[in-house]
């Protein structure tokens, strides 16, 4: 079948919200161009934080604060989608890996939420926690500091991290190094949101 190229009859692209998200972005933060930051409430992005392409930060229901040296990877969603008002605070040195869904009230310093994990509404995640891939933290749950969520809901306390401060420092050093690398690899479009 031959035919001339015809203009596609798809509906027009979704309307860009008229209100620009009020944001306080630190000058050393790295935000990719394709990152999506939407919503009416304030979004604070701390020093050396990295937001990867296609990461979604939704401040429709509340303020979102991303701490120093935290990294939000691709397709991660930080923000509550529906329901009442709730702020989200992400601490320093936190890794929100690819595809993770964060609706928690707060995530403590140094924690890692791994690929495709989900943290429910109003949950509180402590410091230096680790939520393994595809795990779920239920809404309202509180995780103590140094908790590891792994293997389909099992919990354990990470004594290595707890008892040895040098290991926590090593993690921070590793985080700084990753951020330096991302500074070179991710083209920075933070000016769009400043």
């Amino acid at each position: 079948m031959t035919s001339k190229p015809v203009a596609s009859k798809r509906p027009p692209a979704p309307i860009v919200p008229a209100v620009k998200t009020p944001s306080q972005v630190h000058p050393s933060a790295i935000i990719a161009d394709k990152a999506q930051i939407t919503g009416a409430h304030t979004v604070e992005i701390g020093e050396s934080a990295v937001i990867h392409p296609y990461a979604k930060i939704r401040s429709e229901r509340g303020k979102v604060v991303i701490g120093k040296s935290s990294i939000v990877y691709e397709r991660a969603v930080v923000g509550v989608a529906d329901g009442g008002e709730q702020d989200i605070t992400i601490g320093e040195g936190v890794n929100i890996e690819t595809g993770a869904v964060i609706e928690a009230k707060s995530i403590g310093d140094g924690s890692t939420v791994e690929v495709n994990a989900s943290i429910g509404r109003a949950a509180v995640v402590g410091r230096y926690c680790r939520v393994a891939a595809l795990e779920k933290v239920e809404a309202g749950e509180e995780l103590e500091d140094f908790t590891v969520v792994y293997s389909d809901g099992q919990r354990r306390v990470d004594k290595t991290m707890r008892d040895h401060p040098e290991i926590r420092e090593a993690k921070q050093v590793g985080q700084e190094k990753s951020i330096e690398l991302m500074r070179k690899m991710v083209p920075n479009a933070a000016a769009k949101w400043m």
Binding site: R130, A132, V148, Y150, S151, Q154, R155, R156, D158, K159, T160, M161, D163, H164, P165, E166, I167, E169, A170
Partner: protein, 587 residues
């Protein structure tokens, strides 16, 4: 019973149901319906027999022995270990090392005791205070860390000095710990100590039992094929080479002691008494203080010998990975390898792999007319097997297309036989419209492409207008109106032939009879689970001719089976039962 209809299961000739048992066993009553229905002297295969499932396999579970020219099922082959390897480091361990050191990797491959993920050797980061003394060399310290749950050997306070030879270091540390804990007890307490460490117990038990074996004069291994196994031979050889020493002669004259079990701790046996020792009190008080997660599970305790006695999570030792084996399969009758993987661990190819799929004609069954109207777009069909999942109605004749696919490179002549009514409680009538037909050879893909102009027989070449249209559009004319005819093949492609099978499912309830039935008869008519599945036993016989070439003989061997000279055709035959699962009969 397979998950989805239609299925085909093949019966291995090794079972009683498919071949004649020896005369002494045939007195035992087997299936009551085993009437000699079919033409051969074998009994009809009853797929509803209670033992039928032990003989039936899907075709991909079967191998084929080409020396014996028959199907081999998992009961007909012996497995032989070709080599041992560690799944983590892929290092091949010689079997002598496996016999002495055990079946675990001895080379740094350990798994986390909490989550069974592999442990990796990581450097322990230095204390921040060390940065103030740059002149001192860095203290090398390593630990094993789990990549998944963050468990590390620092949880049990264990640090290594070098990143290699972890096994050695672990053994040393373990010895240090167990000797330290036992050295703490005073000598009197040690005597009353109920449990001894696992390693000492194992060592004492092995020495004790080895001593018992030599003392009690156990009978020689009947399976050993040493030339000295008969006592007469042994005595003769001993006479030639000199007699036994005085002590051995004395022992042989005395009555040998029967073998006894270990009795006390010196021999490795430890009993548990009722009185509480301090050792146990310490454990129970600790148990009261800690929570559930801090105790070990039975799985964790069984994962490795050092963990057998550990009750608390902070005593768990890293688990050495268990070695895996590469196995070859040998035919039980002729000892030829029917499946032999490559001995190199990283190569996943097989040196020899004789699959039944490549040597045995394969049967498929599908309904002739699909009962549901085909949806306009095949992408919208949710499940492929919808037509067959619908239940069959009793007494309604159904027609199925039975396709035989030939995997070998010669034309085979296939004969099918099936009892007129299916054996079992529900009798359905089966008719194969064309029971005997040839199937073409399987060839290379190039053969098919080059001969595509003459491949399809369904399109006639008679130059009529219909044929011209058919060759243009690629479809046979009036496919839907074709009526199945008795004695005619339905369809033929290069290496497969299809025939029509007519099935009239029987009813699940027998017709009401005038004569009242006894209780036994009523009980016999009760349907068990899966008696409503319509399974058709089919006896398939394939005959073909092959050319004997020089390679198939061992040099110098004269094979009496084949009468002809090299290069002459010889006829071969393969026969087996298979069961076609058609569907369930609606009540």
């Amino acid at each position: 019973m397979a998950a989805a209809f239609p299925y085909t299961h093949y019966a291995c000739p090794c079972s009683d149901l498919t071949s004649n048992p020896p005369a002494s066993l045939s007195k035992r009553t087997s299936t009551s319906q085993a009437a000699n229905i079919d033409t051969t002297e074998d009994r009809t295969f009853n797929p509803h027999d209670r033992r039928a499932n032990y003989a039936l396999y899907p075709l991909d579970h079967l191998l084929f022995c080409d020396e014996c020219d028959s199907i081999r099922c998992p009961k007909c082959w012996t497995e032989e270990i070709i080599n041992w390897y560690c799944p983590t480091c892929l290092f091949e361990v010689p079997s002598s090392a496996v016999k002495s050191d055990g079946n675990r990797c001895s080379r740094n491959c350990y798994s986390c005791p909490e989550c069974t993920a592999p442990l990796s050797v990581t450097a322990v980061p230095q204390q921040a205070s060390d940065y103030l003394k740059p002149t001192e060399t860095a203290i090398e310290a390593y630990m094993l860390q789990c990549g998944y749950c963050d468990w590390s050997t620092r949880d049990i306070d264990m640090i290594f000095n070098k990143p290699t030879k972890i096994t050695e270091q672990l053994v040393k540390l373990r010895k240090a710990r167990t000797s330290a804990s036992s050295g703490k007890d005073s000598p009197e307490k040690a005597a009353k100590h109920d449990s001894i460490s696992h390693d000492t117990a194992f060592a004492s038990l092995t020495t004790f039992y080895k001593g018992q074996l030599s003392e009690s004069g156990d009978p020689q291994n009947p399976f050993s094929n040493t030339p000295y196994s008969s006592p007469a031979n042994l005595a003769r050889i001993m006479n030639i080479y000199g007699g036994l020493s005085a002590t051995a002669l004395k022992k042989s004259r005395e009555k040998p002691q029967p073998m006894r079990e270990a009795r006390d701790q010196s021999e490795g046996f430890s009993a548990y008494g009722f009185e509480e020792t301090d050792h146990e009190e310490a454990i129970t008080s600790k148990l009261r203080a800690l929570s559930w997660e801090d105790t070990t599970t039975a799985e964790q305790r069984l994962s490795t010998p050092p963990n057998n006695d550990s009750r608390f999570a902070d005593q768990l030792w890293p688990v050495a990975t268990q070695l895996r084996t590469r196995k070859g399969k040998r035919c039980k009758t002729c000892r030829q390898f029917v499946s032999r993987p490559d001995s190199k661990v990283t190569h996943i190819r097989y040196k020899i792999r004789l699959l039944a799929m490549n040597n045995v004609p394969r049967l498929f069954m599908r309904p002739l007319h699909s009962p549901n109207p085909a949806p306009p777009n095949p992408a919208f069909r949710l499940r492929e097997d919808d037509p067959m999942q619908a239940e069959l109605q009793a007494h309604v004749a159904q027609q199925y297309v039975l396709t035989i696919r030939n995997p070998i490179f010669e034309t085979i002549k296939v004969t099918l036989a099936t009892p007129g009514t299916t054996p079992g409680k529900v009798a359905s009538r089966i008719t194969i419209l064309c029971p005997s037909f040839p199937v073409g050879p399987a060839g290379d893909v190039w053969d098919e492409a080059l001969s595509s102009s003459t491949a399809s027989n369904s399109v006639s070449n008679d130059g009529s207008r219909k044929a011209a249209m058919a060759s243009l559009t690629g479809k046979a004319p009036e496919d839907a109106d074709r009526q199945p005819e008795a004695g005619k093949i339905w369809d033929r492609t290069r290496n497969s032939t299809s025939v029509i099978v007519e099935i009239v499912p029987g009813s699940l309830r027998p017709p009401p009879s005038i004569v009242p039935k006894t209780e036994d008869e009523l009980a016999a008519e009760e349907l068990d689970e899966d008696d409503d599945v319509l399974e058709v036993p089919v006896y398939v016989r394939a005959e073909w001719e092959t050319v004997i070439d020089a390679d198939s003989f061992a040099p110098g061997e004269k094979d009496s089976k084949h009468h002809g000279r090299h290069g002459e055709k010889v006829s071969k035959e393969l026969a087996y039962w298979c069961v076609l699962g058609v569907g369930r009969i609606a009540a």
